[in-house]
Each structure stands twice: as structure tokens, then as C-alpha cells.
């Protein structure tokens, strides 16, 4: 094995990343994934003439290591996807962004409909978002349903194409890109005064986890250790972010099956949790809290006591509200066996986060690649086996309880000391991969610096990039009327995908 093994957040000289021949890159990647590895990132980062350098980050959960390899390839190469399903979305991204053609890719079409080519000039011919060669079924009584980009609720835009026979969905194709703001392009040349704000709005409901992954990348590249008190406050904020979103999702799932009590209660409790984050930093989404070198705000004893009181109240209220779901046959009748994804499918396409744990796959960055406070305080992993809407709801509920207990525990044991330590300049010619467990799942940031210590490349993999395809597969042989429910049970990010 030529690959270089690193830990989560371990900086290395970029020259240490082994560059192998293209055919060896391919065979090793396919073999690694067959041996239990998982593609955490696959991207192109350099170009010379018509040749591109591509890099793979393969995560081995059981060994807590990330294996890095790179290869120079021509503008055309044999597609990995037929031999390794996890490469599917990544190959489409490289094709769209850099024009690298994976020959033999079964589903080669844009994932973001970039209005501009990599050089910033308008791409020609201009890709019109949502106009793609959609997969179609033919036959009598087959019909197609198109939904979006503007949806009925207050939600981000995306386009969904269903191939149906009667009420049954045979195939769902998800076409995104409407939210593309050009973040990854803009991150190159940083860090600068806008960078942290790009990061906090990559997926605005995951500001804290994304900012943590970014700040850890910076701290590692600068060789700075942050104070223990800052680690704990970051951990508290990350778990509050998880709890707020999970409770919101449980309420929305109840709403999607018309069970109003839990919907109403959870909607309110979610707000209470966001307000706890606002106690930390003044902003309900944690904007301005996580900063390179630690956190921008300390907690005084009054705030700690206030938060403890609120955490206990939220735990009590949430228990009463959420447990109504499991006792209601009308709810369980809709949750049970709806939108099931098998464990085998989950492993094959590389689902992450709640969606993976709901298939019985115990995969969680906080345990597998522990970072920050999670190196010292472990949270039990919550799994469920059935892979359906019920499982995704139940995993969320288990995580809500465990995260609230964790927050209470950490508030009681805040180490003394400062919360912010200035970081030095970033080491030139270095690279780092940081993983974090956002509330949706694994967040992966890959940063590489140039000779001047500026970002030469910055790659963001939001968990949604792994999981959107899972939602499409979950809809197969389901009633089309169950789509809102299935969609909410994944609750993926549009802007986190489109970047």
C-alpha cells in the first residue's frame, strides 16, 4: 500500500502525499474501499497543461486513520464508479468543475450546473440549472412528476424528478445546484477577513461544526494548540447545534404525518435550544463563536448555571413531546418500513451520519476519529437497524438525549483558563484533512497552503454530498405521497451540497 496514513487533523508537508501512477491509484482505491475503507474526499487540486492531479482521502473508521494518495491523470480516464459506487458523486464533481472525463461513468451529468468554468469565465455552452437529460421510464400509464426548485414550504431550492406508475415511485432523480454561490473558488487565496463568514454560511444550520473543522485545519497548519476551556465550549456548542436540529426534525416529521402535538412542542423546544447557543455568543446559530485559536466568548458562572437550568428543562420537555410519537399507532404506521435503505446499500454508497447509523452502521467521527473534547469525553453511538424513517427518527431522539447529557456534564466540568490563543502564520506547502461530526454526519475539510502560506486549495465535503443519493434510493418502490416524510427524515443541506 502506497498511501500515507494520517490522523484526523494532522498537518503534513504536501510533498509527503504519495503520488502514484494512475492505474495504481485506481486499483488501490477500489481495493481500499472493498477492504472496508470509505471515500471521505476525492477531488482534483492541481493542473498542468491537460493533466490533472487528483487526490483521494480514504477513511478507515476502525483504525481511525485517513489514507491519502494522489495521481496525475489525463483529461480522460476510466471511471471508478462502475467498480466503486462511492466515487459516483465525486467523479461528477471533478468532471463538472475541471472537465476531467470519467469514461464509462453510468450517470455523468452536472451536480451543480456551474454558471462559470473553473477560470471564472462563463462556461460555454452555458449550463441551465435543472435542464438535464433525466433518466426516464417509458410505458403506458407511466408518468413523471417534477417538483421544485421553489417548494411549498420555507425551504431551500432543489429539483426532484419522479418516475411513477400509479402512486409508486420507481426512480427519483435529484437535481441540485440552485444554491451555488462559488464558495470553494472564493476560499482559495485565503484566509482573509471573509473566510470565516464563508465557512459559517457553507450550511448555515451547521455553522458551528463547519467552523470547528475549519479552525482546526488552521490551528493544525499553524502548529497551535487551543486552550482546554475553548475545546469544551466548542464541544458544548456542537452538541447544542445537533440537539436543536434533531428536535426540529422530529417535530417536522410529526408534522409531515399530521401529528400536531409533537410538531408544536418540538418547534418551540428547538427555539429554546437555539436560544441556549445565543447565550454563548448572542447569535442563535453560533455565528461569531468559533474562531481560529479557540472561541471568541467565554462563559461566566451565571451563564453556566443558566444553561444548566435550560438544558434540564429542554430535556424534560423534549422527552414528553417526542415519546408521544412512539405511542401513537397513526404515527408509527407511517414511520415504520417507509423509505428503508438496507445496510448493504448504505455501505456501498458510503452514507454518513444519522442516515448511516439508522441502517445499523456504527459510524461517527466523534468516536472513530476523535477530535477536540471528544478525545477525552466519549458519547455513546446511537444506532438502529431498520434503515427506515422510524430508524432515522429514533437515532435522532437517542442522540438528543445523549447530547443533552453530555452538555450538562461538560458545563459542570469546565476547565479554567483562557478561551482564545492567537495562532501563528500557516506553514507554507502543507496540507491537512479535518473531519468533524456535524448533526447531519461527517464533515470533511481539506486545506493545502502555497509557498506563501495562503490556501492553494480548499475542499469542503458536507455530509449532504454523500447522502443525497441515499434519499433517491430510499424512495424506490415507495408511495410518492411519502416523499416529504422521507426527505425530512434525511433533511439534507442544499447549500452545503451546492457550495
Amino acid at each position: 500500500m502506497q498511501a500515507l496514513s494520517v490522523y484526523n487533523g494532522q498537518a503534513l508537508a504536501a510533498s509527503e502525499i504519495p503520488v502514484v501512477a494512475a492505474d495504481q491509484f485506481r486499483s488501490e482505491l477500489v481495493r481500499s474501499v472493498a477492504d472496508g475503507g470509505r471515500i471521505a474526499a476525492l477531488f482534483a487540486d492541481r493542473r498542468e497543461g491537460t493533466r490533472h492531479r487528483i487526490q483521494a482521502v480514504v477513511a478507515f473508521d476502525a483504525e481511525s486513520v485517513l489514507r491519502l494518495t494522489a495521481a496525475w491523470i489525463d483529461a480522460q480516464y476510466p471511471s471508478l464508479t462502475p467498480d466503486c459506487s462511492q466515487a459516483h458523486w465525486f467523479e461528477r464533481e471533478m468532471w463538472e468543475r475541471h472537465g476531467i472525463v470519467p469514461v464509462g461513468h453510468p450517470f455523468l451529468k452536472p451536480i451543480r450546473f456551474l454558471p462559470h468554468a473553473a477560470n471564472g469565465k462563463p462556461s460555454a455552452p452555458r449550463a441551465v440549472c435543472g435542464t438535464a437529460d433525466f433518466f426516464r421510464m417509458e410505458g403506458e400509464e407511466i408518468h413523471e412528476v417534477a417538483v421544485g426548485p421553489v417548494h411549498a414550504g420555507i425551504i431551500e431550492p432543489g429539483h426532484f424528478r419522479f418516475q411513477c406508475h400509479g402512486e409508486t415511485v420507481y426512480h427519483l432523480e435529484i437535481s441540485l445546484g440552485y444554491q451555488h454561490r462559488g464558495v470553494q473558488r472564493a476560499l482559495v487565496g485565503g484566509p482573509d477577513r471573509r473566510t470565516i463568514h464563508y465557512i459559517e454560511t457553507l450550511a448555515g444550520d451547521t455553522s458551528i461544526a463547519h467552523a470547528s473543522a475549519y479552525c482546526r485545519a488552521l490551528e493544525s497548519l499553524a502548529g497551535t494548540r487551543i486552550p482546554p476551556r475553548a475545546q469544551v465550549i466548542r464541544g458544548i456548542a456542537q452538541e447544542l447545534e445537533r440537539v436543536a436540529n434533531h428536535i426540529g426534525d422530529l417535530g417536522a416529521l410529526a408534522g409531515d404525518v399530521g401529528y400536531l402535538p409533537t410538531m408544536s412542542y418540538c418547534g418551540r423546544i428547538r427555539g429554546d435550544v437555539l436560544n441556549m447557543t445565543a447565550v454563548l455568543c448572542g447569535n442563535r446559530f453560533g455565528r461569531g463563536l468559533v474562531r481560529p485559536g479557540g472561541v471568541a466568548f467565554d462563559l461566566d458562572q451565571d451563564s453556566v448555571d443558566e444553561l444548566k437550568r435550560r438544558v434540564r428543562a429542554a430535556a424534560k420537555d423534549a422527552k414528553v413531546a417526542v415519546e408521544l410519537l412512539w405511542d401513537s399507532p397513526s404515527v408509527m404506521g407511517r414511520f415504520d418500513r417507509t423509505g428503508a435503505v438496507s445496510r448493504e446499500t448504505c455501505e456501498r454508497i458510503g452514507l454518513v451520519g444519522v442516515a448511516a447509523r439508522a441502517c445499523g452502521v456504527a459510524r461517527d467521527v466523534r468516536r472513530d476519529f476523535p477530535y477536540g473534547i471528544y478525545r477525552f469525553a466519549q458519547l455513546p453511538i446511537s444506532t438502529c437497524d431498520s434503515g427506515d424513517v422510524f430508524a432515522r427518527a429514533m437515532v435522532r431522539w437517542l442522540e438528543v438525549q445523549r447530547s443533552l447529557a453530555f452538555v450538562e456534564e461538560q458545563l459542570a466540568a469546565l476547565p479554567p483558563g483562557p478561551v482564545l490563543r492567537p495562532i501563528g502564520a500557516l506553514r507554507p506547502g502543507h496540507a491537512v484533512v479535518t473531519l468533524a461530526e456535524g448533526w447531519r454526519g461527517e464533515i470533511c475539510h481539506v486545506a493545502a497552503t502555497d509557498d506563501a502560506g495562503r490556501f492553494e486549495h480548499y475542499q469542503v465535503i458536507d455530509p449532504s454530498l454523500h447522502n443525497w443519493f441515499g434519499l433517491a434510493l430510499a424512495l424506490r418502490n415507495q408511495q410518492i405521497s411519502d416523499f416529504p416524510l422521507c426527505n425530512k427524515s434525511f433533511n439534507l443541506s442544499y447549500c452545503g451540497h451546492d457550495l
Binding site: 414550504g153 440552485y178 454561490r181 408521544l324
Partner: protein, 254 residues
């Protein structure tokens, strides 16, 4: 059934009394409408303008201007200014009906949001809005959505988010308007019957926010459709959005 009733009892009555009662408590570290004091400004210092991520501040001779339509409320300027010329207050009432009114100067804040009387007469005291996210990061969307929960209960004011633009009196837009959403936004706007109002929520929808001048986006809603009300913030607190909506329907005047 008993459990459901028990839960109902335990959860209690949660709708806030605002606007008839006091507004809900804001967090101690809440950043509301900033205040500037040009007299304290040291000539030629420019620390605030150098740290501002969105160029929201202009500092000239004796004039300090902070454009809350660009501001992300990150407080970097407040921290950078040793003279204390910029301070973020707890004032949550920040919406305005023109871009110029969003600019904070030494002068007292103008009376906010004046909606055209004719439009208000036609719409009456009910407001049906269609929300369009056009590159929003889901924070403005989430804190608009929260107004529908029992704590805020937007429905009691006759305000509702509807599923079709054809049922709507106007649009509430979030996000910088990505090039990929431009067409969908234009079509949605034209599908709303006239007279209609457009509310831009958040720094992105007002000015592009951190995405200002990106070729992939359009510097906010007003570059594509005419905007009547601007609600600053990143994201605005739900109370700021609610206050703006209540002004739009004439429920509140100040």
C-alpha cells in the same frame, strides 16, 4: 389519549404576549442595531474598515457610516475600534423601506418601514407570503420558519406563508440570488398577482452579504426584483423579522 392530554398539560401555554406585552428577552450578547459616534473617530485610523468582511463601513472626515444592509453583525469593528466609536445596541427594530435608511450615521434612526398606503389598503390587515430561498444558507429560512411555531404564532396576526405564489400578496426572499436561482425567482415574482410587496430578509438578500460581487450571485434581491422592505441581520433575529412584518400590515407603527 391520556398521555397526549398529560403532555398538553405539561407543555403549557407558550405563545408570547408581544406585541401587546413586552418582547421576549434577548440574549445578553445579542447584537442589534449598531450606533456610531463620529466624534470619537480617530482621523486616518480605518481599523474598522480594514476588519469589516463586507465593506459595510465608510470612515471619512468626521463621518462614520455603517450600512446595516451589508453588515453581518460579527462585531469585528466594535472590537477593533479602541475609541469606542461603534457599538452594537440591543435594538431589534431594524427594518427599513429604503436602502438608504439602513445606513447608520450620527443622526437618530429614522422611523422605519413606510409601506405605500394604496398597497396596504388593498391587502388589508392580512398578509400571505411566498418564501423564496435564492442561495440562502438556511439560517434566515430557519428563523423565518420559527415564526410559525407556537411561541411566535404568526397566524394570530393574519400572516401566513402559502404554498403557491398565486395565493400570495408578496414574496419574502432570502439569499444573495444565485445565478442558478435567478430565473426561478423572476418566474415566482411574476406569478404573484399585483399589487404585491417584496421583503428581503438578511444581509445576503439585501446586498449579497459575504457573497457580494461573486460572479455566481447577484448582490441581493433588488438586482432582480423591486424590493419594498429590507430586514437586516445575519440572520435577523425572529423578533426583527416579526417586527418588520407587523409594520407591513400596519399593526405597529414604530
Amino acid at each position: 389519549m391520556l398521555k397526549t392530554l398529560q403532555a398538553r398539560w405539561q407543555q403549557g401555554y407558550r405563545t408570547m404576549r408581544y406585541p401587546d406585552g413586552p418582547p421576549p428577552d434577548l440574549p445578553a450578547r445579542f447584537a442589534g442595531r449598531p450606533q456610531v459616534d463620529s466624534a470619537k473617530c480617530t482621523a486616518g485610523c480605518h481599523r474598522c474598515t480594514l476588519v469589516c468582511p463586507t465593506d459595510a463601513i465608510t470612515a471619512g472626515e468626521q463621518t462614520l457610516r455603517l450600512d446595516t444592509g451589508r453588515c453581518l453583525f460579527c462585531r469585528e469593528c466594535e472590537t477593533a475600534c479602541e475609541a469606542g466609536a461603534i457599538a452594537f445596541s440591543h435594538e431589534f427594530r431594524m427594518a427599513a423601506s429604503s436602502r438608504e435608511q439602513l445606513v447608520v450615521t450620527d443622526r437618530p434612526a429614522p422611523a422605519v418601514v413606510a409601506i405605500d398606503g394604496a398597497v396596504r389598503r388593498i391587502l388589508g390587515r392580512s398578509l400571505k407570503l411566498r418564501q423564496v430561498s435564492a442561495g440562502g444558507c438556511n439560517a434566515c429560512e430557519a428563523d423565518t420558519n420559527v415564526l410559525g411555531t407556537v411561541g411566535w404564532d404568526l397566524g394570530r396576526f393574519g400572516i401566513q406563508f402559502v404554498a403557491s405564489p398565486r395565493h400570495a400578496d408578496g414574496l419574502l426572499i432570502t439569499g444573495p440570488v444565485t445565478e442558478n436561482m435567478r430565473l426561478a425567482l423572476e418566474k415566482t415574482y411574476h406569478a404573484v398577482p399585483s399589487p404585491k410587496i417584496v421583503i428581503a430578509v438578511g444581509a445576503c438578500a439585501i446586498s449579497g452579504g459575504p457573497y457580494a460581487d461573486h460572479p455566481e450571485a447577484h448582490n441581493g434581491a433588488s438586482s432582480v426584483v423591486p424590493v419594498d422592505v429590507f430586514v437586516p441581520g445575519c440572520p435577523p433575529h425572529p423578533l426583527t423579522i416579526l417586527h418588520a412584518l407587523l409594520q407591513v400590515i400596519g399593526r405597529l407603527s414604530g
